[in-house]
Amino acid sequence: MNNSLFIDVGSYQKQKNGEDCYGDTIYSKKIPEERRVISILSDGLGSGVKANILSSMTTRMAMKFMEDNADLLRSSEIMMDALPICQTRKISYATFSIVDSELEGKTRIFEMDNPHFIFIRNNKSLSIKGRKFSSPKWKERAINASQIMTQPEDRIILISDGVTQAGIGNQKYPLGWGRQGCIDYILKEIQKDPRISSQTLAQKIVEEALNKEIGKKAGDDISCICIYFRIPRKLLVLTGPPFDEDKDHEFAELVSDYDGKVAICGGTTANIVERELCLKCQIDKTSFDTQIPMSSIMEGVDLVTEGILTLTDAYRMLKEGIDRKSNVASVRLVNLLLSSDKIDFVVGTKINIAHQDPNLPMELEIRRNIVKKIFRLLQSRYLKEISVRYL
């Protein structure tokens, strides 16, 4: 099925003021063979190391049970039994919220004692009625189960009580920021930027909660997971001239036929596309840098850069973080890669003999190798969907 959604998961946390580690734990996992994404947020009793142990035990156990499709009631009993008992409070306790999403659209949510999840569709917060149940052993700990058929542009947001109780006790928010306050803020942010990524939104929510606190000191662990269901953002990366010159036209037509963004990495590659499609391509002088060749502007193409040097630098920055100005060609390429969900590489395998001259002062990779390194990193670290074709 090709109409499946892409699930963009992002999270952000802030620990309680004065603590070294987080008392809440966030854990997300993709199961590609079942086309599922599971995200879990757990809040451990208290704060600091003790809470961290409780919450991380809970998330790890819950993840294992969810992956195995185990019975939830039985699993939660096991989890509650397994948690160590706090010496001061004489109870064992950690909350959890679990979101189990299938790419085809069905999403199940299980919650115990966390603030109720926030569900946003068409820029409105909808309340979802769940089913409550509890095990005979732990009657006071009810689990709330809900199910949603997700649509593109839906968002699910999980927050810990550190968010809803932010600012509690001060004059402006005597009862804390509250779930409604948080919803109003989220809706405002989505209205400002309807395509805001999950990572940015989660960070904004946590920072806004922190702003409510007296002296910006977190009174409790503040955590947020955002899940954003969207139609995959596609990107075509064309690099290198085709081995067989007769295929130049077929190669160039990939650009005009593509239903997404397009990046061309390679001077000769750009020349081929320019020639075959009769497009105008001009150097963009605003991207000048002493180490990376300038990018160009071509109609219908989102980015045109030089090949090997830019790709090598982009790979380095994907690994180590962006350390150049935002107008530089390689930074633009990295940003384009990171903002896409599904990336199709088409690699022309013709080798430029001039690059193999041993007198060249810098290590110049063979194109196939550097592309392989880049897409492996995008797959493993950034969870992107990648396809590669050699021409």
Partner: protein, 88 residues
């Protein structure tokens, strides 16, 4: 008077061999030629491939259509001054 056209190749091999240093002409040209030149950067001009020379002779720069091999800042500036002197 028509400006002297300088076309700098910014293809991969020319770039690593120093064409970025020649691009400085655009931002900080010597005063005597500053208003007499017009600079254009180009993607690979194919001189590195269509050559009979054994080794790469880049960076390649065209000054008024005349090819300069193994170009550098001085070579290009000298060439420009030479043309200016001829015109006088």
């Amino acid at each position: 008077m028509e400006k002297i056209k300088i076309k700098i190749c910014c293809g991969t091999s020319c770039f690593v061999m120093g064409s970025a240093q020649i691009q400085v002409l655009e931002f900080a040209p010597p005063a005597d030629i500053a208003d007499k030149i017009e600079i254009e950067e180009s993607r690979c001009m194919n001189y590195c491939k269509n050559t009979t020379a054994k080794y790469n002779r880049g960076p390649f720069v065209l000054v008024n259509g005349e090819l300069i091999e193994e170009a550098n800042f001085e070579k290009v500036v000298n060439k420009v001054r030479e043309i200016l002197n001829q015109e006088k």
